[in-house]
């Protein structure tokens, strides 16, 4: 390359400087992994891997810790949040790209992107002050009345609806990831070539058939990547759920139970951990979370790149 024939020392210095700056990203990732493993080594040695992941005990007094309750809480809130968010987000994306009149497309698109910029602590605080009372006064008693007597699913709606529970936390988390998911889905939908859509219209397809049979199949890689990215984000979200989950270490069978996630435990207990094994167990949780979200984010990136490559041809 012509660049390297420039043997000037300034140029070499500048290239090394920029190389060092870009390597910081790799250094941070490796550093985080190494530090988390080192800090959790005490708990890792005492509880092992399978034992730690499967144990539901979280007892700071006796110094026995297990991750099952927090991992369970993390997965339940994330799964419910995705159930709420994905249909809504795809609905928004379909609305913006296919249905909305032209003068509405750009304002709604901008509004979605602005909402994605609002920090999660605002969602969390709003959840505590506004959503939790609404849930405990109206939504949850109504759910209890409707579904509470049905066999099998009645356990999901047991207990006193206080508003500080799995359901409220999941709803907030869902609301929070809607704008993000919607904007990725919209970008993917927009990549469908107009010619392909017009061909479908020309042979008499209805608007919904175009969405279902042309746009969705064409953009499924991108949408899938976007959903995985939202999943990764939701797993690691702290502040949106910290306010309304109650940090209760148990396997909650009812949606109206307080619970805990990995992030909420970290936020609430990290500065209060008084023994080495306690802090080490919290680092162990952080390690589990880091590895999990890294894998999911890598998968999402894989799909998004695949989608990109497909369309750029």
């Amino acid at each position: 390359m012509a660049i390297y024939s420039q043997k000037k020392s300034c140029d070499l210095f500048f290239s090394l400087l920029t190389a060092a700056a870009s390597l910081t990203v790799i250094i941070f990732i490796i550093g985080i992994l190494v530090v988390l493993i080192k800090e959790s080594s005490l708990a890792l040695g005492k509880f092992g891997l399978v034992n730690f992941l499967a144990s539901t005990v979280w007892n700071p007094v006796t110094g026995i810790f297990g991750a099952a309750t927090t991992i369970y809480g993390t997965f339940v809130t994330t799964a419910l949040a995705l159930v709420f968010a994905i249909p809504t987000a795809i609905g928004i994306a379909v609305f913006v790209t296919e249905i909305a009149p032209n003068f509405l497309k750009s304002p709604i698109g901008i509004a979605i992107e602005l909402l994605a910029a609002i920090p999660s602590i605002i969602y969390g605080m709003w959840g505590l002050f506004t959503l939790a009372p609404i849930m405990s006064k109206y939504v949850e008693p109504a759910l209890q009345k409707t579904f509470g007597k049905l066999p099998f699913i009645s356990t999901l709606f047991e207990g006193t609806p206080l508003g500080i529970d799995l359901l409220t936390a999941s709803v907030i988390l869902g609301i929070m990831i809607i704008p993000f998911t919607a904007s990725i889905a919209r970008d993917s939908f927009n990549l469908t070539p107009a010619v392909v859509k017009e061909s479908a219209y020309a042979i008499g397809a209805t608007q919904w058939e175009v969405v279902k049979n042309v746009v969705l199949p064409y953009s499924k890689l991108g949408v899938f990547g976007g959903v995985a990215l939202s999943l990764g984000r939701a797993l690691g979200e702290t502040m949106a759920v910290a306010f309304v989950l109650g940090n209760n270490h148990k396997i909650a069978t009812s949606l109206f139970d307080a619970a805990s996630t990995i992030t909420v435990s970290l936020a609430n207990e990290f500065t209060e951990a008084d023994s080495a094994i306690y802090l080490s167990s919290l680092y162990y949780l952080a390690l589990v979370l880091f590895v999990m979200s890294f894998i999911i984010l890598a998968i999402s990136k894989f799909f998004l790149l695949k989608a990109e490559r497909k369309y750029s041809r």
């Binding site: 012509a2 420039q6 290239s15 190389a19 509004a111 609002i118 605002i122 058939e209 690691g236």
Partner: protein, 280 residues
């Protein structure tokens, strides 16, 4: 009913449902925004910005310490994050353009952008807080800059890639070494784009709470000493909203309003710059 009508009805129902989903989603999101605006404006007083917190449970007082702390931490994070991010992006888009290493770092940065921020806080706690035996504003700023670097790096890479290669060739032809070409030609061509990336990355870290919980912690007193614990708006919102006092809740709304407005203003400004620069 014949097939044609059935398809029309099906189409209408499906589209109505997606319109409904959109309406429900947008309803909640605007509800949140309006709620923050209404409650926040009610909480805005001059004393909120000028006074330090009153003792717990006592009416009055303000959040001057948190505003000052937030500004100092965010500003320091920007001072660390922006140069490193811009230089790193330069390496990816210029010296390592098209190489495997550039691709790998670019993908890792994208992942790093979404990595749980609380893990970053735990990381910085282990390397900067515990060895020194106290929380510090520096640690908070460092944690935020770790989150900021990949954001700035990726936007810089994208913006530099948009500068036409022929522009560089023109400068090479005049005998300029590569670093001069980058600084005097490429950076100038991409300046507005990089500026937008910087604005958006500041907006991103200004609302972060989780990485500050174990690094800059909190401080009930006014402090400009970055080597001690420092208050920040976001951590104060967390503490005050979870607290038992009505006056704390009001101040938390006020702080949320200010931070939301700040972030929305930065985001809108960033978008306007992009529009102004690249639509023509």
């Amino acid at each position: 009913m014949n097939l044609e009508n059935k398809r029309k009805v099906e189409s209408f129902i499906a589209l109505a449902l997606s319109g409904l989903a959109a309406a429900v989603g947008l309803f909640w999101l605007t509800y949140i925004l309006i709620d923050v605006l209404i409650n926040g404006i009610g909480a805005l007083k001059v004393s909120l910005f000028l006074n330090d917190p009153a003792p717990a449970g006592v009416e009055g007082g303000g959040l001057r310490n948190a505003f000052v702390g937030q500004l100092m931490i965010t500003f320091t994070a920007t001072l660390i994050g922006v140069p490193v991010g811009v230089l790193g992006g330069t390496f990816l888009a210029e010296y390592a353009r098209g190489r495997k290493i550039s691709r790998a770092i670019s993908i890792l940065s994208d992942i790093m952008v979404s990595v749980p921020s609380i893990v970053v806080g735990a990381f910085v706690y282990a390397i900067l807080v515990r060895p020194l035996h106290h929380f510090s504003g520096w640690a908070g700023a460092f944690a935020l800059s770790i989150i900021m670097i990949p954001v700035v790096l990726r936007t810089t890479e994208d913006m530099l890639s948009l500068v036409p290669w022929t522009l560089r060739e023109a400068a090479f032809a005049l005998g300029a070494p590569y670093y001069k070409v980058i600084i005097q030609v490429v950076y100038r061509g991409a300046a507005t784009g990089i500026l937008t990336g910087v604005l958006l990355s500041i907006a991103r870290v200004a609302g972060e709470t989780a990485p500050l919980l174990f690094t800059s912690f909190n401080n009930n007193f006014h402090s400009t000493d970055m080597s001690g614990p420092m208050a920040s708006l976001t951590v104060t919102i967390f503490q005050y909203a979870m607290g038992p006092y009505k006056s704390w809740h009001t101040q938390a709304w006020g702080a949320s309003f200010v931070i939301t407005l700040f972030i929305l203003a930065l985001t809108i400004l960033g978008r306007m710059i992009i529009k102004w620069r690249y639509k023509r």
